[in-house]
């Protein structure tokens, strides 16, 4: 087991190298020059010589591969460079934004699970009856609602009209996280309700459920002990994927609610060609990718005895 986890972590190194090199090349492909952008950002006019000096200082005149090697060398020393825009150390400013994204991820995932699992089970148990139709109707609406529209509607009703929650920012304590988390959870829960419903329905069709019913085991017990546990596998995999993209920061939602997380940071960095910040973000994404996949594997391993006991082929 430990060996497996270790091997997976080792696999991370080539992924990290590949993905950072790729992003280096991608950002260098863009036509706009970082120094020109810095000039327009900071509003100070620079002469051509000054610009060239600055380019040399930042190492932008060297070939991409050399820039990459230099960056990699610094990274190993724990130095991710300084932001072109703010001049602050990248690592520190990245770490300062992480809690915002983490809390939003946790809050929205909890909401999603809290909504979609009970409703998905209810819809499956009452298949093709009123609760099922109602739940599917709402999940349909949630699926068709773009998150920026949902966010603006929530702001309009709950912040501007009812004045329950603050419009934006994270200064309002727990209240300020409610609207962004609900926005994210709406779309995810709508998707998951369908998946939970499908997973539970499929599980209810299995022969062991018939067997359990025939043995006179109560329906509730079958549902909560056997069926739910078996359907968790699908749900856990989905949740892992969602957690991955949430931890990457949700650019649109974070920017609407002025939520100072890594997604907003990435979008700002991308539009300003702030290469060091983009690189930090890319590393973060790669780490999430590997860790989340590993976590999903381990959870499946734990939940599914067929995988755990190494009898994958057995029915």
């Amino acid at each position: 087991m430990k060996k497996y986890v270790f091997a997976r972590l080792i696999q991370m190194i080539p992924i990290l190298l590949g993905i950072t090199l790729l992003s280096f090349i991608l950002t260098n492909l863009s036509a706009a020059d970082a120094v020109d952008i810095m000039e327009s950002n900071q509003g100070i006019a620079m002469s051509a010589e000054e610009k060239n000096e600055l380019r040399q200082e930042l190492g932008l005149d060297r070939p991409v591969i050399q820039q990459y090697a230099a960056w990699l060398g610094n990274l190993l020393k724990g130095d991710m460079g300084e932001s072109f825009v703010s001049g602050q150390p990248v690592l520190a400013s990245f770490l300062s934004r992480l809690p915002a994204t983490l809390s939003l991820t946790v809050a929205s995932l909890l909401l999603t699970v809290g909504i979609s699992i009970p409703l998905g089970i209810l819809a499956a148990v009452r298949q093709n009856r009123f609760p099922d139709y109602l739940i599917r109707f709402f999940s349909f609406i949630g699926n068709s609602l773009p998150n920026f529209f949902a966010a603006l509607l929530l702001i309009y009703f709950f912040s501007l009209k009812l004045k329950i929650f603050p419009v934006m920012g994270s200064a309002g304590g727990w209240k300020s996280i409610v609207l962004p988390a609900v926005t994210l959870a709406l779309a995810m829960a709508s998707k998951y309700v369908r998946q939970v419903r499908a997973a539970v329905l499929e599980e209810l069709d299995q022969e062991y459920v018939q067997g359990a019913r025939a043995r006179g085991i109560r329906e509730k017990r079958i549902l909560f002990f056997s069926v739910l546990k078996a359907s968790m596998l699908t749900i856990m995999n989905l949740l892992a994927l969602s957690a991955g993209s949430l931890l990457g920061g949700t650019a649109i939602v974070e920017s609407i609610f002025m939520w100072d997380g890594v997604g907003k940071m990435a979008v700002d960095a991308i539009t300003m060609r702030d290469y060091p910040v983009i690189q930090a973000y890319v590393i973060w994404m790669a780490v999430i990718y590997v860790v989340i996949n590993l976590a999903a594997d381990l959870i499946c391993h734990y939940l599914d005895p067929r995988i755990r006991l190494g009898q994958e082929g057995a029915q």
Binding site: L29, F140, G244, S245, G249
Partner: protein
């Protein structure tokens, strides 16, 4: 196994009412496409004509959906926006379907190193959150709406490649394929005559289901300022520009927002119906790329 299951569980007879649904959602989708196509001829006002004297009017008889901060008629802009939003989504779906299908067919039919390579590439695209990639690509491409479409195409093809590849591999060695080969059909003929018609179902289903998602993603990029640029009428950028007026004149947000919502919903309903029609037992596993 399968037959047993359908006997065990009570299920509604498939096919009942599906044609009716198809006609209903299909004609609504067609209506949207026609609106998009003839947008310039059916707008009640000029969608670009500014008149600050009538800025931010609430909906009234003359301006059914109100006016924006430059006094432009919202209804006309929403109709014009249909053209931008719907056509870019159609274009995007076409590009991804074609490129994904070509890649998937080549991978599935030939296998080998190219297959391994393309599938690893698609793994990377599927694993990373698409929107962030799209934002990066759109800002590099800087081509406005077309840049946004290209960026989303770049991240969306692997899904189709996966579906097509698995389908191709599943039927590659079917007896009728052997028969076609023995009858002397060349690779091209086999692919176009015998393979593509058989795998078209899931691809078409995915494509129709994706219309709504793609529309939301294009609008999302425009909302972030990475797609259509003002003054172009596009639903996402119209909403982004109206954000600051949410409190005083909510119609500038509601009009384009509802337009996206309804359009996406109609295409989703159409997609579900097409899936039910082509694929009664819902191939869930194949629809999930991972």
């Amino acid at each position: 196994m399968r037959e047993k299951k359908t006997i065990v569980r009570k299920q509604k007879a498939p096919g009942k009412g599906i044609k009716l649904k198809l006609i209903l959602w299909g004609s609504l989708a067609l209506l949207i496409l026609l609106t998009a196509a003839f947008a310039p001829y059916i707008t009640p006002h000029d969608p670009y004509e500014q008149d600050l004297g009538r800025a931010l009017w609430a909906p009234c008889r003359e301006y059914l959906l109100g006016t924006d901060r430059y006094g432009r008629d919202m209804l006309s802009r929403v109709i014009m926006g249909a053209r931008t939003s719907v056509f870019s989504a159609v274009l995007l779906v076409l590009i991804t379907t074609v490129t994904g299908s070509v890649a998937g067919t080549v991978c599935g039919y030939h296998g080998g190193k190219l297959d391994t390579f393309l599938m690893r590439v698609s793994d990377v695209f599927l694993a990373f959150p698409g929107m962030v990639f799209a934002i990066a690509a759109a800002s590099v491409l800087k081509g406005g709406l077309f840049g946004a479409v290209a960026a989303l195409a770049l991240i969306s093809w692997p899904k189709y490649a996966r579906i097509v590849r698995s389908q191709v591999m599943a039927i590659k060695n079917a007896p009728y394929m052997e028969a076609a080969r023995l009858a002397g059909s060349g690779t091209v003929k086999i692919i176009f005559r015998h393979m593509l018609p058989n795998i078209a179902g899931p691809v078409v289903t995915t494509a129709v289901l994706d219309m709504g998602t793609m529309m939301m993603e294009i609008a999302g990029l425009s909302f972030l300022g990475l797609g259509a640029a003002p003054p172009a009428a596009e639903w996402g950028s119209m909403m982004s520009n109206g954000r600051s007026m949410l409190q005083t004149s909510p119609w500038v947000i509601l009009a384009p927002g509802c337009a996206i919502f309804l359009t996406v919903m109609i295409f989703n309903l159409l997609g579900d119906t097409v899936r039910d029609l082509l694929d009664p037992r819902q191939r869930k596993k194949e629809e999930l790329p991972l």
